[in-house]
């Protein structure tokens, strides 16, 4: 399994082509933003994810709180 992992990683890295900055217009489109934004992330983590035993527990916001209402 370890060899398969390394093989996949090498394959992945080999397949990544460099994209020039002039070609990145679509990547900068708002629909391509990978982050949800600080406010939404905080709200999701504080409420929904605190109800899941596997939640990150900490979050980017200060004070995860006990998450136990």
């Amino acid at each position: 399994m370890r060899r398969l992992t390394y093989a996949c990683l090498l394959l992945a890295l080999a397949g990544c082509k460099t994209v020039d900055f002039t070609e990145k217009r679509h990547l900068a489109d708002p629909v391509m933003q990978l982050d949800d934004g600080a406010a939404e992330t905080h709200f999701q983590q504080k409420c929904t994810y605190s109800r899941e035993g596997s939640a990150g527990g900490i979050g980017s916001s200060a004070g995860g709180g006990c998450g136990c209402y």
Partner: protein
């Protein structure tokens, strides 16, 4: 082994996606999005902007979950409503230095709080407020290196937390690859108020997290992020007011277990005893997560997310998610649809029911000596989340958001999340 398999899966995903061909190459300068780990706080990270510019975002959120008879934790009525305004401010002090602040407040209305007023002897430990503040700064050392620092704290009736962290972001390969190394530490103080109202003073909880996040552009219309998070927690890790219902094996409870039946500790059902929740004093948590997103010429973006998690308490979870983003009116109005599946296995110390004969029960109900929990959030369950978000770009600098999620949870603790936000750039 599990994480190794997950890593191999992510790598394979990357390998499959990598050779995608470039399309719609348009000669226009674009900022590279930051790596989008689960701890990444902002979609427009400061430190890369023009001096004197910034943004203010205001969001108000509403969270609601009901609790039918016998759903979830049998000891607690988990019905809950939270109203949470959040304010996020980012400001570019110079072209290299940016600062930010996040302020939040929760108004909490829950059954456990109402019970507190009805039955003072069974004080629920949750108060009805939460104040949080987080300050951050970001410094661009050069075109390829950024440093970030943040710190803050939060305050609840029974819980205070102080935290800090830092990160280093490295760009290379013509900004096609970004590596982010981060560290967070949280030092919490818990006011231990037990299920029977006994106050045991303050206890501490320390959480230390290290993150590695990778962002990779694969083609002009395809990019991904992936990350690994390792957390070590120690100290008081129980939920202070949680109790565990012990049933007599010779006299088990029949039918739905109504939490109201366990409110009056002096008049519990026959054969029932309640002891404090007890859990290990340390917990190691590992999460592996990633996202692959593809842009289509129709103004559509398709996203596949995934998260694998394992901890030392025996909980494993997997959470695949698919999202579709669509411009309805170009550059003005867009929609996001999301579906998330979540599966969690139970903690080793979790059981829905515990059967212990009265003669074998601990004499000190607050120090039972055996690790047990009936907290349904630590049990095994699946959930399905459906979400819709509308975003209107009123001008180049003003944006409105309206979002709603419905979480259908197997154990009956369904949840509704609604939020409305306004973001103004300056």
């Amino acid at each position: 082994m599990l994480l190794r398999d997950a890593l191999a899966g992510l790598a394979a995903l990357c390998a499959l996606a990598a050779p995608a061909l470039a399309q719609d190459a348009t000669p226009q300068r674009a900022e590279v999005p930051s790596s989008g780990g689960e701890e990444t706080p902002s979609e427009d990270p400061p430190g890369t902007g023009v001096a004197g510019t910034g943004s203010v975002e205001v969001q108000i959120g509403l969270y609601q979950n009901d609790d039918g008879t016998g759903d979830g934790n049998p000891f607690l009525d988990e019905e809950l409503t939270v109203i949470e305004p959040v304010v996020v401010i980012d400001y570019n002090v110079t072209d290299r230095l940016a600062v930010g602040a996040q302020l939040s407040y929760d108004y909490v209305s829950s059954a456990s709080i109402e019970r507190l007023s009805n039955y003072p002897e069974q004080s629920g430990a949750s108060g009805d407020y939460y104040y949080g503040v987080n300050l951050n700064m970001r410094y661009k050392v050069n075109e390829d290196v950024q440093l970030g620092l943040h710190g803050g704290g939060s305050l609840e009736y029974d819980y205070t937390s102080v935290g800090f962290g830092g990160d280093t972001t490295l760009d290379w390969n013509d900004d096609n690859t970004t590596l982010k190394l981060g560290f967070n530490g949280f030092f919490d103080t818990v006011k231990v108020i037990r299920f029977n109202g006994t106050q045991e003073g303050d206890d501490t909880r320390i959480s230390l997290t290290a993150n590695v996040d990778l962002y990779q552009i694969l083609s002009p219309t395809l990019h991904l992020s992936a990350g690994l998070s390792l957390t070590h927690q120690s100290g008081f890790l129980e939920t202070a007011f949680n109790g565990v219902v012990l049933e007599d094996p010779n006299q088990p409870l029949v039918g739905d277990r109504d939490p109201d039946a366990f409110v009056n500790l002096a008049n519990l059902p026959p054969g029932v005893g309640i002891v404090a929740e007890e859990l290990p004093d340390t917990r190691i948590r590992v999460a592996l997560y990633g996202e692959l997103r593809k842009y289509f010429s129709s103004g559509t973006a398709l996203s596949f997310r995934g998260r694998f998690y394992q901890d030392s308490w025996g909980i494993f979870s997997v959470a695949p998610e698919v999202r579709v983003y669509q411009w309805i009116v170009d550059d003005v109005f867009r929609v996001r649809f999301r579906y998330r599946f979540y599966l969690q296995t139970a903690a080793d110390d979790y059981s829905e029911r515990f059967f212990v004969s009265p003669s074998a029960r601990p004499t000190d109900v607050l120090d039972p000596g055996t690790e047990r929990t009936q907290d349904s959030d630590l049990g095994d369950f699946t959930s399905h989340t459906l979400g819709l978000k509308f975003t209107i770009h009123a001008t180049d600098s003003v944006r409105f958001d309206l979002a709603g999620d419905y979480v259908l949870r197997e154990d009956g603790i369904d949840q509704i999340l609604l939020s409305a936000g306004l973001r103004v750039g300056f």
